[in-house]
Symmetry: D2
Subunit: 384 residues, 4 copies
């Protein structure tokens, strides 16, 4: 197997889940991600804020232990000898902090969906809760789990495109082109549950996180022009953002949920003094490398020219596409390595990396800065 | 969740595995495929023909019951109340028949890697064994599990491109461009273990199966020109094949393992009287539909224009790519539905379909006909 | 011939040229463009500001009348009965105004390369000169000559994507990634000859013009962040610009000359309330149309779904690519129709259109606003 | 100007044309091709076999001398001091020989559309006529004029992909998917005017010529399966052909006029022992180079990695697409160089090359062999 992913780590991690009941999209994704490399066993859950749904969903999944709410789950699991070691939190954004702190304070590792929280205040409290806990906190900025994203990051770090000058990142979708009529859309466009950002929070944070992850650079300030094109929408559905990175690089970020023809068209281009890189989420097994003055090169996952950072995030040979679920599973498997090292106190290998609570804070700061800048007619707002 | 795949079927199927030890590529793929939708639990295995490796591999995977050989596994599992209900056979081709019959005759369902067998004689015996057994036989021609392949098949069946005239299918690779030096290549180019066909058996059968699956047409005869370009190679590494389908459609099939720049570039184009379809394995979430006299349309998985046949083979929304493993898992999940229906005697829904032992026989006949035609200077050979 | 372009207009237009001597890139392009549809005959020229080069270049091209400078050319050609009817001005930007006015005031039509001028003051004077002249003024914003750009404009005007919300336009190149060492680069990065804008003037104006041409919308204000990444460069080589259009649409414009891997990657995406359009200059025979809720459609030049506006700008059947020179020739052929109508006083058909002196002024205003905004830390600057 | 094409050859060639009247597609293409680089002046024509149309068409183009038929044109032009030096023959196929010999025997160079003739007998006579004449014969297999085709040929010749093993070439169209109703289709599907081959003659010959041109290899034998899918059609509209090249390379050729969604989708892939090349006519400015064991490389026209053979066939910088007309013009400009060298007796530079009468004979032999093989149930037919 031309692969770095290893399904033979011993001792599967006992996992719980908060949120993710029957018709929630992201819960199912988390469960597949946890299962793919066989490092977790889902044993407990409080899958809905509605007790009946929580129970029905838990039974449908055959969970060993079903709870009506996350707090009693945290308390009781923490007391069990065979209690969960980690919990996945996949509720709407505004519940992330409240749920996470219950587990963190009881030493249960938290794997939390993004964005970190719906408010900056919550984000700061969650950072504190994570810092005070011995438990790990993993944020599922899942796109950083794609092998070719790792490849890009490795190439930048190795200086293969030189000092970075320009970053163009975008995440257009079209599902909110017309007024939302279904559940997914509903909470995501309600500022009370989703946060002050609409497209900025839901997908802009992914784009922002990806830009920072690949380049290794922090953004110093941004200038944003946010819109809500659909009448009555309370949060932005389109955002134009200019970025200034530390060290002088400049960038543009575009997030949109009203761009017909775009599904999840996250795409990043990074240009340095000696070359460029380009990656697109919808075609994730490829990375364009354009060394200045040489022909463009198309690097494929596990193909010629791909390095170790990508190989260890992959399972199958080149030409057999891996996708979104595998990338998501990579976050879970990185987390598994960290959790297992934590069990024994072993050192975590350098190459294991996953989005942290401070990455999550940065994401919430990004949303907050976008909203602030846009209110001030696109004035530059510091992110320091 | 915009999805047809359902992880909540109750009562996971107890699964065994023959072959697929430590460094075998395809065994790991089968295990992920079985795990993805959570319908199976891998409990037993004879993972290698070398007992030490069988044991080490089984332990690494944490199997409950580890066997030295498939025969004792079949015997002993059949006797257990909690014995396996199904077995995955992922050995080299020449072992498929011998292993499969042991399980079939004991009523254990068989999920077998392709090609069905290494010889036509074995294939016929295996068909007979399957027919005489009450157990199910599923062949993992995994590419038929891709959602957009199902979409194509559904569109052809619905007459959306009219009566079929031309089928162009190809599966080029490049990994055998130079003399093979690693294990995967070794058995695949040894006629005793792989069969008389090289590229024809390993990948040509996939292309052939895909063409028949999508068009719903049988091939009546073929004319082939096979080559072994690499000195000393005993089986074909490149095959040019002309096809004549029932009803008058004509086709070309190209398989190659010496085409530099190709990884697993399986691609099919089907042209009917009123339109065409095009699908490529390396970019599997897209299907081109070209109605004659109208603009080309790009249909995406779960996107606009995609129908039920694709939706039920999918897990996540459009724009989040699914890949090879999900397509493979779809075969396992189709099998799971059949096995569960078999448990209770319930009728299997019409839409559940998977490659059968007779599809496997057709594949072996294809290889055999290619070799025969090529020996007779590309004379047309009947497949009836 | 599946074509709208007609090579049989009678009476070829006598053409002169200013600039465009031996090793100038754009002069050769203008000459091919003039020749392609056979509506012009190049008879006179002042091809260089250096008289020896002007003469040598003129002789090499076999010009009937060669001049040392544009002023004497204007004077003497205006006096001849068989003097030129039109002149192509292809000098560096800072000479456009001076040359153009000499011809305009003598009633000789001017076909002028873009940007209109190197300063806003010159631009305004040139507008006045054009207004006071009976002669026509055509600016070669050549990208508006591409058939599929016309197709896009026609579709927007027909309401096929609804009211426009978002415009994303970009023009990245890489040829100035390192310090310039050749003539083309030299004057284009010298503010005295090129104007205050670098990438904004050379290519940003093209992107800006294209966005306005396709959408039919004016930009009300912009906020820009310009950089000169290459040490010592006096004008911008990268520009990030946010746009606010009349009617509420928002846009982003990116121009760069330091983006390795990009040649002339002009690309525009326009999103309306009911659909989107996407066109890329390097693959100009295609237009993506993405009606919301339907599969993406790929419209090809002269193919199914393409309309009249594109057909009349084209010469050959679909699938035979036309390129940059044909698009450029379309501007010349539109101009030829106007000049011939002007000869006889005939009305110009509605569909004939070409970039005008006021489009040129808008381009110079764009550059000026970018520079002003960037100096004011990206404050919004009005373009009204 | 980053270019090899030179518009300053002195002394434009006096050109005549046979065929190509008003509504003929290919005549207009030839005229643009002749004009583009300014090496020809079209002065005489017999543009139609119908005298009235010949005259009307000639007048519309402003020809100096208009003839009713090609024979009187040949006779009278040969007598004039300022008579044509070359003639373009753009009639239906069955007239090529008759027209060409009249000019050849009078020492007038012939530029002839492909295929050479409609019958093998005519082709042989034309070869003889060309051999007996001092005049040059140029066949417009125009696809060999594309810069990146020259690039491919140069790379093969330089050994950059090693000894060739496999050639996959195809030319699908869809315009004859339904019964033909317009003039272009009419003569092209009439064996008396077009020849015994339908798709094989019209486009298969292009594919065949391209394969031989790029690889530098001759085809020794072929096995073909031809079809006429549209009821009543007298010539093939789909052809599947297997090829055996000298030296052991094998190939497949597919031509079709009934493949919905294909416009002029000529595409070639060549695989050698150490690498591969891929080129597609509809996107002609790119060439994929896939050295075995390295990332794929995308070479662009005039971009990094492109060599001299491509550069001299090009006019404008990378990223500004050239298309079909420029490729066609390259044949005319190669011819111009040869004709000018012929004027003075100067040696022709090695790099100047164009399709010859013997290439034309090979094309007709190809069609003839396809028809013969198909009649003999796809038996191998020698082309030696």
């Amino acid at each position: 197997m031309v692969s770095g992913r290893n399904e033979t780590l011993t001792g599967r991690i006992r996992l719980g889940m908060v949120g993710g009941g029957n018709d929630a999209f992201i819960g199912g994704v988390h469960r597949i991600a946890a299962r793919l490399d066989d490092h977790y066993e889902l044993v407990a859950g409080a899958l809905s804020s509605t007790p009946e749904r929580a129970r029905a969903s838990g039974e449908a999944l055959g969970l060993a232990r079903i709870y009506d709410d996350f707090k009693s789950m945290a308390i009781r699991e923490a007391r069990r000898k065979d209690g969960i070691e980690a919990v996945s939190i996949v509720t709407p954004n505004h519940m992330h902090y409240l749920a996470a702190r219950e587990f963190l304070k009881r030493g249960i590792h938290v794997i939390c969906d993004k964005p970190l929280t719906s408010t900056l205040a919550d984000a700061r409290k969650l950072v504190k809760a994570a810092e005070e806990s011995d438990a790990l906190f993993i944020l599922t900025h899942n796109y950083t789990g794609y092998p070719m994203v790792r490849q890009a990051r490795e190439m930048v770090a190795a200086g293969q495109i030189g000092k970075i000058r320009v970053v163009q990142v975008e995440y257009p979708q079209d599902w909110l082109t017309v007024e939302e009529t279904f559940k997914q859309a509903e909470w995501r466009t309600d500022p009370a549950r989703s946060g002050a950002g609409g497209s900025t929070g839901d997908i802009g944070t992914h784009a922002y996180n990806l830009a920072c992850f690949i380049t290794g650079l922090a953004v110093e300030s941004l200038a944003a022009d946010l819109q809500a094109f659909v009448p009555g929408r309370q949060v932005d559905d389109n955002a134009h953002v200019m970025l200034r990175f530390e060290g002088g690089a400049r960038g543009m970020l575009w997030s949109s949920q009203v761009a017909p023809g775009n599904e999840n068209a996250l795409k990043i281009r990074v240009f340095g003094e000696t070359g460029g890189l380009e990656w697109a989420q919808e075609d994730p097994n490829y990375l364009w490398h354009t060394p200045f003055g040489e022909p463009k090169r198309l690097i494929t996952r596990n193909g010629a020219g791909a390095g170790d950072a990508a190989a260890r995030m992959s399972r199958i040979p080149p030409g057999h596409p891996e996708g979104y679920l595998e990338g998501f599973a990579n976050i879970y498997s990185e987390a598994a390595q960290a959790i297992m090292a934590h069990r024994t106190g072993a050192a975590l290998p350098d190459e294991v990396t996953f989005p942290s609570v401070s990455d999550g804070l940065k994401g919430v700061q990004f949303v907050s800065a976008c909203v602030a800048s846009s209110k001030r007619n696109s004035a530059w707002v510091s992110l320091a």
